[in-house]
Symmetry: C2
Subunit: 112 residues, 2 copies
Amino acid sequence: MKNNIPKHTHIISDIKYKGDLPNIEKNMDDAINEINELHVIKKFKYLFNPYGISLFYVLAESHISIHTWEEYQSINIDCFTCGKTNPEKTLNAFLKKINILDENRQIIKRGI
Amino acid sequence: MKNNIPKHTHIISDIKYKGDLPNIEKNMDDAINEINELHVIKKFKYLFNPYGISLFYVLAESHISIHTWEEYQSINIDCFTCGKTNPEKTLNAFLKKINILDENRQIIKRGI
């Protein structure tokens, strides 16, 4: 057993957007491709009725999750990456594509 | 648009376990059923080679994610639930089923 697991970075980004819900999947796909630091293994999506999307990216580095709340024009994003990888560039590239009113960001170091 | 979105609860639990990796999926399924407060819509799982599991529960209330790091005998758990739902009872029921050496827990209020 190795003892010194590197600390992971978990960025929580809760946002309020203006106007209609943006295409979160296309915008996140584009941001990941542009920054080219995260490795997507698989995507999962669930569409709630009448609205609401839960979108998950399984990464080699852990995961990204996105939940939309159209009734509040709000989106909750988690970018959790292991070791030295920092997902902040990808998150910032994603946010630039969206018409943001406000963001509450928390950066958490995690591991044990 | 509603303005007053209730704050969400996000519990981050990073643990070190003793012995072999426990059956995380069965133990979490059992914990969810026992406590009976979270509503699972769908589960997704990805198995890494040679080891490592990423397991996601899409909940009506948001999600649970679990990543295992057998090389460090470590598990990273996220329980993210919207509104008034608190996932702590379910998380505690899960941890009781596992041979835990240590836990680092962070409770985060989120939303905007």
